[in-house]
């Protein structure tokens, strides 16, 4: 049974088991390896993608769940909020090992797209599901605020 996907604006077909985790399809079948596997149980956030503008832990969703919906991976981020986040991440040297950062950026971008001027509490609540073993949390927070300031002009 074929599942039709819209990944980063491109239509793709997946002919495997519709219950396959979306993460595997993204990485193994579509070759988009920017989205990471960290835990497989929706506890770390490294697998975060956007579906119709909302965050989704792709390790915890069957590929069938996103049939016909707009899926955006880290490779496909292009919104003003995404560009501001990427710029802030570079300016503040947020990244250490980098493994969690695709997920961090996806969650941060989703937050700013819905709430361009988030409070620290908003940041806490939006980012709580993204774990960083290098503990770059303070820089992530600062970068979200910096991106917000840039969006405000």
């Amino acid at each position: 049974m074929s599942v039709t996907l819209n990944i980063n604006g491109t239509r793709r077909e997946f002919d495997g088991d519709p219950d396959t985790p979306l993460l595997w399809v993204i990485r193994d079948d579509l070759g988009l390896t920017g989205t990471k596997y960290g835990c497989g149980i929706a506890q770390c956030g490294a697998c975060t993608v956007h579906v119709d503008g909302q965050t989704l832990r792709s390790c915890s969703a069957p590929v069938s769940a996103v049939a016909g919906r707009q899926v955006t991976t880290i490779e496909g981020l292009a919104s003003p909020a995404a560009k501001a986040v990427q710029k802030a991440w570079v300016a503040l040297d947020v990244v250490q090992c980098g493994y969690c950062q695709s997920g961090q950026i996806m969650s941060a971008t989703a937050l700013l797209e819905k709430k361009p001027k988030p409070s620290d509490t908003d940041i806490d609540h939006a980012m709580a599901g993204n774990i960083c073993r290098c503990a770059t949390y303070q820089r992530i927070r600062a970068a979200i605020h910096a991106a917000s300031a840039q969006l405000a002009g």
Binding site: P21, S60, D122, A126
Partner: protein
């Protein structure tokens, strides 16, 4: 395969099955309480039995008093940190649907339902006595405007309520079945919907 090996394998399978059913406790039906001749007493007893479902972790975890749902049979704070948000469906950027999909998902063990969300604060049950929960359920100002018939319909047929008996993974289901809960609630309503003393 030798008969000893076969017997051993059968015992292992049966033990595993028994283990998974061990958490599925029975719920007593309304007929069990028919011998209580005092109507109010019988009504209260019926609700106490229904309370074994209402106060089970599968139900209580999503009826928090504060901002955060809980998890597990010990009611520890939901991990990761999530809050009810403005609409009881999560915060901006971390919605319930970020992780919870339309059905339980075995590869990740994450439970799911199309309408996954936290019960509104007016329907908070954690830290409440069974009497307080009973009074809340009966109060149209706090139960979403439900009539007694609607209360029964919700308990007996709502599919998110029904998830409590099909939680997936290694989660212990609520006692009995949703049909049994429905029968208890129907009998409770018919007997005057009396609330327990405590």
């Amino acid at each position: 395969m030798s008969s000893l090996v076969k017997a051993t394998l059968i015992m292992i399978v049966l033990a595993g099955t028994a283990g998974s059913l061990a958490g599925a406790e029975d719920l007593r039906g309304p007929e069990t309480f028919a011998s209580i001749t005092n109507q109010s007493e019988r009504s209260r007893a019926l609700f106490v039995e229904a309370g074994r479902v209402l106060q089970h972790p599968r139900c209580l975890n999503c009826h928090p008093v504060g901002e955060r749902p809980t998890q597990g049979n010990d009611g520890h704070p939901h991990s990761p940190l999530v809050v009810r948000g403005a609409d009881d469906k999560g915060a901006i950027g971390l919605r319930c649907t970020t992780c919870h999909q339309n059905a339980n998902y075995e590869p990740s063990g994450v439970p799911g339902h199309p309408l996954w969300h936290v019960a509104p604060k007016s329907m908070a049950w954690q830290t409440k006595s069974l009497r307080q929960i009973c009074e809340q359920i009966k109060d149209p100002r706090r139960n979403g405007g439900k009539t007694p018939a609607a209360i029964h319909e919700h308990m007996a047929h709502d599919s998110l309520v029904g998830w409590g008996w099909m939680p997936g993974a290694n989660r212990e289901p609520a006692p009995g079945t949703q049909a049994q809960l429905g029968a208890l609630i129907a009998a409770w309503i018919e007997s005057g919907a009396a609330c327990p003393a405590s």
